[in-house]
Amino acid sequence: MSQVIIKDDEVDIVIGALQSDLTSFMEEWRPFFSRFHLIIVQDPDLKGDLKIPEGFNLNLYTKSDIDRVVGPVSNSISFSGYSCRHFGYLMSRKKYIITVDDDCTPARDTNNKITDAVSQHIINLTTPATPFFFNTLYDPYVDGSDFVRGYPFSLRTGVECGLSCGLWLNLADLDAPTQALKPELRNSRYVDMVLTVPARTMLPVSGINIGFNSELVGPALMPAFRLAKEGKLRWETVEDIWSGMCVKVVCDHLKIGVKSGVPYVWRQERGNAVESLKKEWEGVKLMEDVVPFFQGLRLSEGAVTAEDCVGEIASKVKEVLGGNDPMFARAAETMVEWIKLWKRVRAAE
């Protein structure tokens, strides 16, 4: 259908560095990253200098930058581990942000052709989403596809896409109990499509491979809800899941779409599921309790920006969940601090 023209200067690629040597990671992605500006944020807990190959247009941020920009607030907002990338979102001034975990490389499709995850995220973000009615041929805007018989015509213009959730070949984003139970399970199924996740349907948003429209939803991707021992392994993380539910509520309220499907990345082995299983995560049980809360969450008509929405979600979290566990009250506070920080950093321009 329509041709998507990607303006390179509208995109930032944000990488959270949890390992020091980024050489092989950057080399694998070079064909797809090199056109764009990169923001690399070093995990503040990672000591020493990062090793980054030459030839990229990038800004590097470390602990000292985080401390300088965020100031004393960094007591309530933690940027450690996977959360370091949120500092990159904060510093970015671009419309579209793409982010990939540093243990992922480009994937190959069923014809063994290398896929360009960056371009695919941008295509997802720059073509309409269709959250109000399900199209059985999935994305109607891709070449060779369309809306099927019975799809209401008034809904065929679609809405803007705020978030593009990609997938993973090899080591899929399974939780530790699942991976520990099925240690041999690897995802080898390349499903060649992207679809819009319907309005009012919740999903687990994995932070491993996503793209988003920062102008529309940027403030809603935040490091607000963290487990006490939230670690450097995805098996021990819930921050992206919490943030993802907030983003979906924001998108549903603002009538923006969330897509899921291609692009895939190839995710390498790291860590041991059984080891992760041994750790205590009081937060994982807590997440079970929040699902009904998010599913029923409705925001006021006055909330017209992502910042407004996050503010409302934060007060409802405090009001409804705050009494259940102090972690929720803390999450609500962190969300409020985050929005203040987001606005402050932007106003300082």
Partner: protein, 347 residues
Amino acid sequence: MAAAPPPLKDELDIVIPTIRNLDFLEMWRPFFEQYHLIIVQDGDPSKTISVPQGFDYELYNRNDINRILGPKASCISFKDSACRCFGYMVSKKKYIFTIDDDCFVAKDPTGKQINALEQHIKNLLCPSTPLFFNTLYDPFREGADFVRGYPFSLREGVPTAVSHGLWMNIPDYDAPTQLVKPRERNTRYVDAVLTIPKGTLFPMCGMNLAFDRDLIGPAMYFGLMGDGQPIGRYDDMWAGWCIKVICDHLGLGVKTGLPYIWHSKASNPFVNLKKEYKGIFWQEEIIPFFQSATLSKESTTVQKCYVELSKQVKETLGKVDPYFVKLADAMETWIQAWDDLNPAKAN
């Protein structure tokens, strides 16, 4: 080596509406021959439809439908494939697979022939997950599972009522799209089965469809289409919207995706446009109606849900066009006919 008997061999009927011939069954023989067929012959009942040798079947033409249902036969469409729902009503099996007579065996990307029936059965026999979206699609498929962040309390899933398959080659487009893109063919094999989330409607195509009669059968009425009716090509759509509202209400799942069949015939888009024309406008009122339809908690069976829905159709959509008043009455007639032919089993 003795082969295992085909799955659900005595629990599933294949319902095929036809007006011309059943030559297409030859290609399906390896996959269908062991199953019982219900042929619903539309159009001129004096014409003989020949069924290829070796198939076990029952065949109903219009005379049979009139004889069996008497005055209630008015709810079964004439000169439209919507008449197939008579086959659902008259079946005595738990599962139905329905397929159009211009649908052939498709091949997967490795070149292997796809046993569509087998995939539908797999879809129906494992749970659906309508309450939370799994980004790796059907978690019960081999090689897949629930992803991190998927609530543990929702991993049991719910029973699957409907399995909606797709089509390679001629896609199921409406007339305007067909007219604008006459050459477009579906060549993309999407290797996924997924549950359509609760609260979300979809366009259900009857070309390649399977369902659990016990769970949802009475709601699979394909409406009043064809001869003497102001609309056509909305039979399966109508059923799809009704079943989705009812499945959402009763906690049942609807899946879509695999299996693919090969759809060989593109119907005439000008003829289609005449049939669909009113539907294109009415759809704009029908969709909000279904999106906001709620059923009372007293509606605990499919029949009760359906009758309640028919009353809402009459009251709300009846204002859009008198056709919907007729349709609402036909919905009630259908339920009466269904209950006549399918008396409740003694406990």
